[in-house]
Symmetry: C2
Subunit: 513 residues, 2 copies
């Protein structure tokens, strides 16, 4: 049975995507950049590396300062209708390819910020382009379903071959959402419903008249005074519930009403780790004790602990597997949910598909939330008791977006085809070693280098961070920051050693002059 959409669109999917990559390649494929100083010896090792995308630009090319004249005009125009005060760079995405981002003035930059850690397999990726021009994508875009009530016939298959194919160990179900913030909020809602059900004795106990009446009035017991515990410097989103668990920066929170929920200290590790082993272990033990004390004693009962494997927005703060295993133990023995927010860490960037894979826990988290590099969002869970006792309790009109779920499936295929998680682990080691050498030579400029063994999810503190980021752009490198003074590296999964060489060379230039 030939469908309406299929008959039209399938021609597009037969095209060989990106048979000719035109502009950018011509603009930037010139001679190999001269390796300098500390990076000279490592560049040698990468000569023989096969690029994932032979048509990718060979190096950055800067024609103007940023923003250049064309970008300035466009920004001024956009500002009339859309707030541009947080604008970093105006981009021509159709001219961007692989690890390289193009602006409106002929500048092409190596991008290790990647849309705030959200581009997984490169700009204008051919595999994704094939998925984006497929008949099923066209139908998903124009026939958007209310998934909870009118799912499409192949939704189970799209989930199984996509979102669920990469589900964390032990978690075999998913609730889909729109972005990281609402993914976290839906997980929180599941935790509240689970705990109240548990308090009622489990099963399908009916709500009391008092609960029903009070809930409609935003009062307890129907709307209970219960809480989610998060950590200092955490970032979990900016809607009202998620913002109540976000503690990274005042600008996120000022003037917005918040729930009276508890925060525990997140470990403040000292670097290099090898020199501060017992001190750091004591710090983690202190934070665990504080967490358990809050769970037992906070004025509003805690139903869940939410934590990022690496606090990203809050300044790239790491903790050891011992800390996270400790959280799992504490939440288990106090009967509260353990939610791991993998919105920024998930989908390969740490050299494992999920960052919490590094912890090697036999007992998995209760829920894991995702977004960003997945290009879709939601939370995984395994415990059947986390399905609410009645339908429509975890529900909304769209419940995610099949178009974006289809894209995530293509992202997973590309990750598998190029073995990108393993590659990211290896490139991360390589990049870390190069940065370590630079940190030895420039200990003031590169402080607290961190992320060893965490793929390319690396960061360091810079006493002149904002200036560093700005000057990096002048050298053709787009880098982001996190917290007050961290330089945050978030390359895509297709970032290779030869890209690392360019980044290391530029970093050396920046810290040495």
């Amino acid at each position: 049975m030939k469908s309406a959409v299929t008959s039209v669109v399938r021609t597009a999917s037969r095209l060989r995507p990106l048979a000719h990559v035109s502009t950018i390649k011509a603009m930037t494929t010139t001679t190999k950049p001269a390796a300098s100083m500390a990076t000279a010896q490592v560049a040698e090792q990468t000569r023989s590396e096969q690029p994932f995308f032979p048509d990718e630009p060979f190096k950055p090319r800067m024609r103007t300062s940023i923003p250049g004249p064309e970008s300035k005009k466009a920004i001024e125009d956009l500002h009339k209708v859309f707030d541009t005060r947080s604008l970093n760079m105006m981009v021509n995405y159709q001219n961007s390819f692989g690890n390289y981002i193009a602006d409106l003035d002929g500048n092409v930059l190596l991008d290790v910020f990647a849309q705030i850690a959200s581009i997984p397999v490169g700009y204008s990726n051919p595999t994704l382009l094939a998925a984006a021009t497929s008949p099923e994508m066209a139908s998903a875009i124009i026939n958007r379903p209310a998934l909870g009530s009118f799912p499409q016939h192949d939704w189970a298959e799209i989930l199984r071959t996509g979102v669920l194919k990469v589900a964390p160990k032990g978690l075999d179900q998913v609730v889909t959402a729109m972005a990281g913030s609402d993914a976290n909020e839906l997980a929180y809602k599941a935790a509240f419903m689970w705990k109240r059900r548990q308090e009622r004795g489990g099963g399908d106990v009916e709500f009391s008249d008092e609960e029903i009446a009070s809930a409609m009035n935003n009062k307890a017991p129907g709307s209970p005074h219960m809480s989610i515990l998060s950590f200092r410097s955490a970032f979990h989103g900016r809607l009202f519930g998620s913002l109540s668990t976000t503690r990274s920066k005042p600008v996120h929170k000022l003037d917005i009403p918040a729930f009276d929920w508890p925060q525990a200290s997140f470990p403040h590790l000292r670097y290099p780790l090898a020199d501060h082993v017992s001190e750091n272990a004591a710090e983690e033990a202190r934070c665990l004790a504080e967490t358990e004390d809050l769970i037992k004693n906070f004025r509003h009962p805690v139903v869940a602990v939410v934590v990022e494997p690496v606090q990203a927005e809050g300044g790239d703060n790491h903790a050891t597997p011992t800390f996270f295993k400790g959280l799992r133990d504490i939440t288990r023995r106090n009967d509260v949910m353990f939610i791991v927010d993998e919105v920024q860490t998930g989908v390969g960037a740490t050299g494992r598909f999920w960052a919490h894979d590094h912890w090697n826990m036999a007992d998995p988290p209760d829920m894991v939330t995702f977004s960003k590099k997945a290009q879709t969002a939601g939370y995984y869970f395994g415990n059947p008791d986390l399905r609410p006792n009645k339908p429509y309790r975890q529900f909304n009109t769209w419940m995610g977006d099949p178009a974006r779920a289809i894209l995530f499936r293509a992202i997973i295929q590309e990750i598998e085809r190029l073995n990108l998680v393993e590659s990211t682990a290896q490139v991360g080691e390589y990049l870390y070693s190069g940065l370590e050498r630079l940190a030895e030579r420039y200990p003031y400029e590169i402080q607290n280098l961190r992320g060893k063994g965490q793929g390319t999810f690396l960061a360091w503190d810079s006493p002149t961070r904002d200036d560093f980021l700005k000057r990096a752009k002048g050298l053709g490198i787009n880098i982001g920051g996190s917290g007050e003074r961290a330089v945050r590296l978030r390359p895509m999964l297709i970032f290779q050693k030869h890209h690392a060489d360019i980044l290391l060379e530029a970093t050396e230039k920046l810290v040495s002059t």
Copy 2:
């Protein structure tokens, strides 16, 4: 300069979309249905009507009961990984066309529920298909930007020719979002920031140390005890902030912590309106007085009033322009924001592009939120003071989705091409008249018919509502309910008089047997 994406995808956009609509047409184009009883005389009038889509099925076709055997298998399979207890119908969207929705068992239904009021111009719409297979859509899908920091070069143009082209009168700016819930929450956040700024004397006054420290701790004054006023039976979404303003059904709210925010009574009008003029006027005056009293006296200062032009999820509750103008006056004189939630009413369904256009107010709302039929979401505003005083205060990674904004632009083009708002106004009059005749004959089965003059945004109360909806499916009509006992009609904008005839005929069958 030819871009990478353009060179690949443009072939697709040259195809004539849907040159052959295959399956559905063949399945269902048979003889005209025999008009029966009360609808016989009106069917005559529609003989000469030009269908918008000649290839659309001519009438529903039922092969099995719903769910049929194929659907049952698929539902059982999906349930293993995705909660299907709220499932209404398993759909094959690629076989759905125009006003007709197809399942997996060869059944084709006239759809007047339309994905909970979210499909604007029909399934597999050719104009949307052209947009969905365009090079710019492909790039938007695979190169998703962090819009606040790295907007695409043509974002201003996409907004101006799309989202902003249909901006409500007096509102010339937009903040884009993902869905109705977060659109409302972002509007609430804007209201809180605006009010606190006003309290500080306006301008760019710095935050105090106390505000900064307390906000990080979820405490006042940084996280102020302020509130949003909504109405009984309102629905504004199900995230933590929006859910605190939702008051439609306990199942939405039970077990979820909520803010202590006020609710005022929404008018409870009696029908037919012409027979209860003074009584209804008194009811609206009572609700207005209660609203103003809460604004003046509620324990947590009110910064905004949010209201739907028609309470949809809450049971299709209407009020008159007098009531809404009264709200505008009250909010103006008490210096609080007036937010109109057009998530369900917007984009043409009431016979005006925005439902609040019916109110003919000289002084527009402060913010208008949208989603559903726009297939993207956000809030419009005009007052420059609603832009927060610093960047990054109204910010998140994606800030909407350009792919969906491009689709909204195509939807607007299709609405203009076919003059669908005007058409919906006319078809709505026709449908209302037909229902009015049926209500006269079956006054017990069709009570409180409402929505006259509001396009096809019609509803009535049924003493056996759930049974009515179920039996309607058996006749090949997909209808939704709202509130406890309302039958809610939410046809698409391409719903024509000949579709209305089919709906009227089926309704008569259902209420007369």
